[in-house]
C-alpha cells in the first residue's frame, strides 16, 4: 500500500510540504488548502497526513471514496455530495476541507511534498 510515512522528530515545520501541496492541487500557496497538516507545539511537531487506513470508505453515504489499485484511498469528486462525514470521522484528522470547496481533500501519496521536504521527515512507502 502506497502511503506517506512520517518521522516527526525530523520535521522543522518549515511548511514546504504544505506549499507544494496547495500549489499543486489548488493553485494557491495556502496551508489551509494543503492535504498535509503541520502542528508545531512546544512538545514537538505533529504531521497530519492520511495513513490510507480506509475508515472513511464505508462511512461515505455516496460511495464516493474508494481504494485504488496502489492502495491509495481516493475521493471521486463527481459523485461526492460534500457531506464531510469523512472529515468528522477520520481517525487521523487527515481528511481536510475548506469552505471554498464542496468536496473534502486528502493526501494521495503523490510524493511531491517528499521532494520538497528539506529534512527528510516524510517519505513515500510502497
Amino acid at each position: 500500500m502506497k502511503k506517506l510515512v512520517k518521522n516527526e522528530k525530523l520535521c522543522t515545520a518549515c511548511g514546504a510540504c504544505q506549499r507544494i501541496c496547495s500549489q499543486t492541487y489548488f493553485k494557491e500557496d495556502n496551508k489551509e488548502k494543503s492535504a498535509i497538516g503541520i502542528k508545531a507545539e512546544d512538545s514537538g511537531t505533529t504531521i497530519i497526513a492520511c495513513s490510507q487506513c480506509g475508515e472513511c470508505i464505508d462511512l461515505c453515504p455516496a460511495e464516493a471514496i474508494y481504494r485504488d489499485q496502489k492502495g491509495v484511498v481516493r475521493i471521486k469528486n463527481s459523485i461526492c455530495v460534500g457531506c464531510f462525514s469523512c472529515v468528522g470521522f477520520c481517525p487521523e484528522g487527515a481528511m481536510f476541507y475548506h469552505g471554498d470547496y464542496t468536496e473534502p481533500f486528502k493526501c494521495t501519496a503523490c510524493g511531491l511534498c517528499v521532494k520538497e521536504c528539506p529534512s527528510g521527515a516524510i517519505t513515500i512507502q510502497g
Binding site: C60, V81, G82, S85, Y97
Partner: protein
C-alpha cells in the same frame, strides 16, 4: 411483471414542462400544484409573505391547506390537499438530520389539520427539482403516479394500473421504472402508502431512498394522522421525484463555509461521544426501549403499566444482534447519527409474502413499544414481521399498536368477544391474532376493517353496538383529538401529559417530547419549569419542522459542556448551531429569540386552523385518564406504594383503611386538577384565552392578524 411491461401500461394523463428554478438561499420561490380531478399542473409563486411568516416546511403546508379548504371540507373531499415541503435548510448535506420533509393534510383521524415529518430523499430532491413545496389536490379516477423529473424539467400524471400497492414492491418497481441505470437509482425517491391505507383510517406515507450498498429501496415513514389514507383516497399510487447531480451547495446558501464548519463540528462531536451516550450509530432509536422499561415509562398492556419483566427481551442489545449495521445509515446524506437501522434477509412467517426474505426498516423505538410491549408482546420476530407489514401496507405502527392495545383491553374486559372479532382471540400477548388483525386491515376484511377505524370511532361503535360503558372506554382509549397516543407512559409526568394533550395535532411526541428530560434527567422539577417547557419546547421543535431538520441530532447527542450550561435541557449549543445554519442558508440574521418567534406565529396559525375546522378549544385538549393516572384497581395496586405515598405527601390523606376504589378517586381528583392547572398556565404563556383560543393581541404580536383569523378568534374572545 417486468418493468418494461409496467411502463407500457402507463397512460399519460397530463404533462407539464418547466425550467427548474435555481435554489437561492434555500428557496426556489416556486411551488408545484397538481390537481388530479382535472389533471391540471401549474407552478405557483412562493411569496415574500409566505417566507416571512410561514418560513417553509410545515408552515407552507399549513398556509396552502388553509387556502384550499373551507370549514366544511372533509378529509375525503377533493378539495383536501396533501402538501409536501422540505423547508429552506433541508437538503444541505453537511449537518446531520437535514433531509426532512413535512407533510400536511386534513386528517381522517382528527378531522382537522395534521402534520407529519419524515426522512428519505423526497423533500431535498423535490427542492432541487425546482419546488419549495408540492400541493396535490383533487382525486384521480383510476390509480395514478405523479412523476416529477427535475433534471428534465417535466411533471407527468400517469395512470399506473399494474404496479403493486404495497410499498416494499411499489417503491422498488417505481425506482426501477424511472431510473436510467443502477447508478441513477439514488436520484429517485418515491412517496407511497399500501393496501391497508386503502382500507383503514390509519394509513401512512412511506418516503423512499435508494441504499446503494444493500442495493435496495429503504422506507421512512410520515406516520401520523392517516395521510396515507388520504393519498389512496386520491387514488395516488406513488409520487416520484427524480433529480440528478446532487452536490453539497445546491441550496446556494449565503455562507457555505459556515454550514460546513457547523456540520463538521457536529460530525466530530458524534464521532467522539456517541459511543458513550445513546450509541445511536449502533442501536438506532432502540436504545430507548430499555431505558423506558427501567424508568417505568414503557407502555405495557395498553398503557396500564410502564415496565414488564420481559422488557429486556426488546431492549437494544437484542436488536443490534439482528441489524445489518453500516457506517452510513442515514436517511439523508451526511447524517452521521445514522439511526436508520435495518434488518436484512428476514423471512416472513405470515401473510401474502410468507416465506419471502425481506428488508425491514427499523424497528424504531415507537414501533417496538407500540406493536410490542403495549400489546403485551415481547417477541422480536413478531415485532419485525409486524414492522414490515405495517410499512408495506402503509399503516402507522403507532396507531396500529395503540389501537390494537385498546382492543385487547376491551377483549379482556368482555366488552368485545370472539364472536365480534370473527374468531380472533385478542388477549394481550396474542401475537398470532394481532398479526391476523393487521392482514385483515390490508385486505379490508372482518374485524380488521372495523379496527382500522382507530380508537375514537371504535369507542363509539363499542358503546353503540355492544353497550360498553362510555366512561370506561374514554378512560382507557388512548386517543386525544382522534389521534392515537405515541408510546410513552405519561402518568407520572404532568409535563408529558400536557405535552400530549396540548399538542396542536394530537398526542404525538414530536411536538413535546418532554418525558425524558422530566422523568429520566429530572430537568423540570418545578411547576413553573414545566409550564415554561410546554411553551419553549413545542415552539423550538415546531421550528425544526419549518426549516426541514430532524430533532434527533438536537438531543440524541449532547456536547460535553452542556451539563455546565444554565439550562441543560435546551442543549443551547445545538440550538445555536441551528440558528447559524438558518442564517448561513438564508442570509438572514435571526437569533434564538427570533427562531422561537418564527415558530410562534406558525403555531398560533395552526391553533386557529383547528378552531376554523370546529375544534381548537379547551374541550379538545382533554386527555384520557389512563394518560394521567391509574384507571383500574389492577393498575393502582401494581404501584400501590407509589400512589399511597402520593396521597400522603401531596394530598395529606392517610390511605390506611381506604378501599382501592376510594384511593383511585382521590388521586384522580388531584391529578385532573393538576392537568387543568397546567393547562391554564400554558394557555396564559402561549397568549391564549382560558378556552384555549389565541387572543387578538397574540395574533397581532406574531403578525398573524390576517382578517380571516381575526374574525374567527373574535367570536371566541
Amino acid at each position: 411483471m417486468t418493468v418494461s411491461k409496467l411502463k407500457e401500461s402507463h397512460k399519460l394523463l397530463a404533462e407539464y414542462k418547466y425550467v427548474p428554478a435555481k435554489v437561492d438561499k434555500g428557496y426556489t420561490n416556486k411551488s408545484l400544484y397538481v390537481n388530479l380531478s382535472g389533471n391540471k399542473i401549474k407552478a405557483k409563486e412562493v411569496t415574500a409573505m409566505m417566507k416571512e411568516k410561514f418560513i417553509g416546511g410545515r408552515g407552507f403546508g399549513l398556509w396552502y391547506l388553509w387556502n384550499a379548504v373551507t370549514p366544511q371540507t372533509k378529509w375525503n373531499d377533493p378539495e383536501n390537499e396533501i402538501i409536501i415541503s422540505p423547508g429552506p435548510v433541508a437538503g444541505i448535506t453537511q449537518y446531520p438530520g437535514a433531509g426532512k420533509s413535512l407533510v400536511v393534510t386534513l386528517s381522517p383521524n382528527t378531522q382537522t389539520v395534521v402534520d407529519s415529518n419524515v426522512g428519505g430523499y423526497f423533500g431535498p430532491l423535490l427542492k432541487f427539482s425546482g419546488w419549495d413545496a408540492l400541493e396535490v389536490q383533487g382525486k384521480a379516477e383510476n390509480d395514478v403516479v405523479i412523476f416529477i423529473d427535475g433534471s428534465e424539467g417535466v411533471v407527468r400524471v400517469e395512470e399506473a394500473p399494474e404496479e403493486a400497492v404495497d410499498s416494499h414492491l411499489l417503491a422498488e418497481q417505481l425506482t426501477e421504472l424511472y431510473a436510467d441505470c443502477e447508478e441513477d437509482k439514488r436520484n429517485i425517491s418515491v412517496v407511497s402508502a399500501g393496501t391497508a391505507a386503502d382500507n383503514t383510517m390509519l394509513g401512512m406515507l412511506n418516503f423512499s431512498f435508494y441504499d446503494p450498498r444493500r442495493k435496495t429501496v429503504r422506507l421512512k415513514q410520515a406516520g401520523r394522522g392517516g395521510i396515507g389514507t388520504v393519498l389512496r383516497d386520491k387514488k395516488i399510487k406513488g409520487i416520484v421525484v427524480k433529480f440528478k447531480g446532487l452536490k453539497g451547495n445546491l441550496n446556494n446558501p449565503a455562507d457555505f463555509a459556515k454550514i460546513v464548519n457547523t456540520g463538521v463540528k457536529l460530525h466530530k462531536e458524534i464521532n467522539r461521544l456517541d459511543d458513550y451516550q445513546n450509541r445511536m450509530r449502533h442501536n438506532g432509536t432502540t436504545f430507548l426501549a430499555g431505558i423506558m422499561n427501567d424508568y417505568d415509562l414503557l407502555p405495557t398492556c395498553n398503557f396500564k403499566f410502564g415496565s414488564h419483566p420481559e422488557g429486556e427481551k426488546i431492549a437494544a442489545p437484542n436488536w443490534v444482534k439482528m441489524f445489518d449495521a453500516g457506517k452510513a445509515d442515514g436517511c439523508w446524506y451526511g447524517c452521521t447519527l445514522a439511526c436508520s437501522k435495518v434488518v436484512c434477509g428476514f423471512e416472513l412467517k405470515t401473510g401474502p409474502y410468507k416465506g419471502q426474505k425481506v428488508v425491514v426498516d427499523g424497528p424504531e423505538y415507537e414501533t417496538i413499544a407500540g406493536v410490542g410491549s403495549n400489546c403485551g408482546i415481547f417477541d422480536r420476530d413478531y415485532i419485525l414481521e409486524c414492522n414490515f407489514y405495517c410499512d408495506t401496507y402503509g399503516i402507522d405502527t403507532i396507531s396500529f399498536g395503540t389501537t390494537t392495545a385498546f382492543i385487547m383491553e376491551c377483549y379482556e374486559n368482555g366488552i368485545i368477544n370472539k364472536e365480534i372479532t370473527g374468531g380472533l382471540e385478542l388477549n394481550f400477548g396474542s401475537k398470532e391474532a394481532a398479526m391476523e388483525l393487521l392482514h385483515q386491515m390490508a385486505r379490508g376484511e372482518g374485524f380488521g376493517k372495523i379496527a382500522g377505524l382507530g380508537i375514537k370511532r371504535l369507542k363509539e361503535i363499542f358503546v353503540r353496538e355492544y353497550g360498553a360503558d362510555a366512561g370506561f372506554l374514554n378512560d382507557i382509549g388512548m386517543e386525544a383529538k382522534g389521534l392515537e397516543y405515541a408510546e410513552y407512559v405519561s402518568k407520572e409526568s404532568l409535563v408529558q401529559q400536557a405535552g400530549f394533550g396540548l399538542a396542536n395535532k394530537g398526542p404525538q411526541h414530536d411536538e413535546a417530547w418532554l418525558i425524558f428530560m422530566d422523568m429520566v434527567n429530572n430537568q423540570l422539577p418545578t411547576f413553573e419549569d414545566k409550564a415554561e417547557a410546554l411553551h419553549y419546547f413545542p415552539m423550538f421543535r415546531t421550528w425544526l419542522g419549518l426549516v426541514g431538520l430532524c430533532k434527533l441530532p438536537w438531543n440524541d447527542i449532547v456536547p460535553e459542556s452542556n451539563k455546565d450550561t444554565e439550562e441543560p435541557a435546551k442543549i443551547i449549543e445545538h440550538v445555536q448551531n441551528y440558528v447559524d445554519l438558518f442564517n448561513a442558508v438564508t442570509g438572514q440574521n435571526i437569533d434564538i429569540d427570533g427562531m422561537i418567534r418564527q415558530s410562534e406565529g406558525v403555531y398560533q396559525f395552526q391553533r386557529v386552523f383547528n378552531l376554523r375546522m370546529g375544534f381548537g378549544t379547551r374541550e379538545y385538549d382533554k386527555v384520557p385518564y389512563r394518560s394521567m393516572g391509574p384507571v383500574t384497581v389492577e393498575e393502582y395496586q401494581s404501584r400501590q406504594e407509589r400512589y399511597d405515598g402520593q396521597l400522603k405527601e401531596l394530598l395529606g390523606i392517610d390511605p390506611e383503611g381506604k378501599s382501592t376504589e376510594e384511593k383511585i378517586k382521590l388521586l384522580r381528583k388531584y391529578r385532573e386538577e393538576q392537568y387543568e392547572k397546567i393547562t391554564d398556565a400554558v394557555y396564559e404563556r402561549r397568549g391564549w384565552t382560558k378556552n384555549g383560543v389565541p387572543k387578538l393581541e397574540t395574533l397581532q404580536k406574531f403578525g398573524m392578524d390576517f382578517p380571516e383569523l381575526v374574525e374567527l378568534v373574535k367570536q371566541h374572545q
